[in-house]
Amino acid sequence: MFELLGIPPQALFGQLLLGLINGSFYAILSLGLAIIFGLLNIINFTHGAQYMMGAFVAWMLLNYAGIGYWWALLIAPLIVGATGIVIDRLFLARLRDLDHLYGLLLTFGLALIIQGLFRNQYGVSGLPYSIPPELAGGRNLGFMFLPNYRGWVVAASLAVCLATWFVIEKTRLGAYLRAATENPTLVQAFGINVPRLITLTYGFGVGLAALAGVLAAPIYSVNPNMGADLIIVVFAVVVIGGMGSILGSIVTGFGLGLIEGLTKVFYPEAAATVIFVVMVLVLLIKPAGLFGRAA
């Protein structure tokens, strides 16, 4: 049996696949951030908290209403997305004319509030959430044991990312959106309700974060801090990709998942920092990010 850099190729495939699964989460989250940034020009610091809310709403649906995973997948993003719309109407809409940094500060404050409230209510040890029975177990792929649920995560997130990309790049609604990003006044003049478009976009981006949260609930610990550290990594992903293109953020998300997966095999100690190192390298070579346009 030949070996690649001391690792049997089977194991390597396995690790790459796992990297791809983590990349799915990065991709959905950075996609949501990119969409919000495109139209609102703010970085949504609450994104991590909203990802956490998605997981919690799934748990609440199950425990308070007896609604299972599959419906949660649909309902949780809608509920959390709706809270996003409220946030936008109440707060963000009033900050549109100010320096965009205020939006960042506001969403940071909101993240603290949301995480604190959940911590008070549910503690921090985390809550149990099981894998839906339809996806329990796994299959042997020859080179690794792949739990069915992980396979589902990759498939689902790829589908969601591509669907989003399709809507934005290929449909009329997407065309309005892109036009509003470039020149809101002109689009308004064509009779499109731009403020509403902006609010709905924010709600949609937030909904994507919640969807990632529901996907994560069965495999990661559902606790109030689950999004806090993740979001910083996703920020780095966004900086690497540059927020110029939707496809760019998806590709970067999956790509960095792969890089992280490889690091876990060859040099696990650096797995936490590798994305930041990549970020530094990209900044040195291409400051606007891999897919970004120069500011």
């Binding site: 940094l101 500060l105 506001l106 404050g109 008070n120 910083i232 900086v239 920092t273």
Partner: protein, 326 residues
């Protein structure tokens, strides 16, 4: 962020500047007097904590309020300096003043390196890059053997200042810290009102214009970034001597968020705002400690209130009332 400066420019220039300068001098003297008597009224360890954070917030404000650059990773400089100071004082056994200098110097170097990376992008990207770089420092501090991981560096000796003054008494140490603090903020005040500071404000208000006037804006930004990191490091190193420990708290991103909050509450772009903000936040943390997780919620609410209704901060509002820059 531009509102304060606009108001400053609008005032009849020369006389107002002189008036402001004498007002500022009076306030600084007031602060010095207060610092001299404070330990007789308040608990000195608590005061020292406030002073360290006030210096930290002033350093941060130099970058945000005058350079217009929002760093979300200032904990990295505070924390690095505090680790280096604690390590050199404890393991190498250097006297406290040398340990503080070494800590501060390490923050300066780090600021220079990170600054040169971060200023390649602007606005929100800048904030995210500084945050990500600081997170790298956090992971480094967690894994590096000399930092003691989660335990931190404990039992750092306070030592004898210049080999003469025994710092183990809280009151003695307090006066040393108060001196460091005053020196730090006066230095910042000096920077702001130097020609260098004027160019900074010009860049903050309109970078393309400053470029067209022939200023190498990136060099100015890098210098102010490094200065800010250095002073944050001075605060961190002093803190390590005061609390006799250096820990992960100082490099965690929540610390970066806290300093933003302090500056925002006090008033960014004002001379005295960050000090007031730091005092408010530290006092709040101290006296609300029994509320547990609600402290985070309260901090978040303050953030939101400040951004929505109170963007000038406490001192900013005061300055508006008095029609004087503070």
């Amino acid at each position: 962020m531009a509102s304060v400066s606009g108001q400053m420019a609008a005032a009849p220039a020369a006389r107002a500047t002189v008036e402001a300068a004498s007002l500022h001098r009076a306030i600084f003297i007031g602060i010095a007097v207060f610092l001299a008597v404070a330990p007789f009224l308040l608990y000195p360890v608590f005061l020292m904590k406030v002073l360290c954070f006030a210096l930290f917030a002033c350093a941060f404000n130099l970058l945000l309020g005058y350079g217009g650059l929002l760093s979300f990773g200032h904990a990295a400089y505070l924390g690095t300096a505090s680790y280096i100071c604690a390590h050199t004082a404890k393991v190498w056994g250097v006297p406290p003043e040398v340990a503080i200098l070494l800590g501060t110097a390490s923050a300066a170097v780090l600021g220079l390196v990170f600054g040169s990376l971060a200023i390649r992008r602007q606005g929100i990207y800048f904030a995210m890059i500084t945050l990500a770089l600081a997170q790298m420092v956090f992971f480094f501090s967690l894994q590096a053997p000399f930092t003691g991981g989660e335990d931190g560096i404990q039992a750092v000796p306070r030592g004898r200042l210049f080999g003469l003054v025994d710092l183990s008494s809280d009151t003695t140490l307090y006066y040393v810290v108060a001196t460091i603090f005053l020196a730090g903020v006066l230095f910042i005040y000096r920077i702001i009102h130097s020609p260098f500071g004027q160019v900074l404000k010009a860049i903050r208000d309109n970078e393309p214009r400053a470029i067209s006037l022939g200023y190498a804006t990136n060099r100015y930004k890098l210098v102010v970034f490094t200065l800010s990191a250095t002073l944050a490091g001075l605060a961190g190193a002093t803190k390590a001597i005061v609390f006799q420990l250096a820990s992960l708290t100082d490099v965690h991103w929540t610390m970066s968020g806290e300093v933003v909050l302090m500056t925002l509450v006090g008033g960014m772009g004002t001379v005295f705002g960050p000090m007031v903000g730091a005092a408010v936040i530290v006092t709040m943390q101290n006296y609300l400690a029994h509320l547990g997780a609600w402290v985070t919620v309260i901090q978040g609410v303050i953030f939101v209130i400040c951004v929505m209704l109170f963007r000038e901060g406490i001192v900013g509002v005061l300055a508006k009332r008095l029609k004087r820059p503070l």
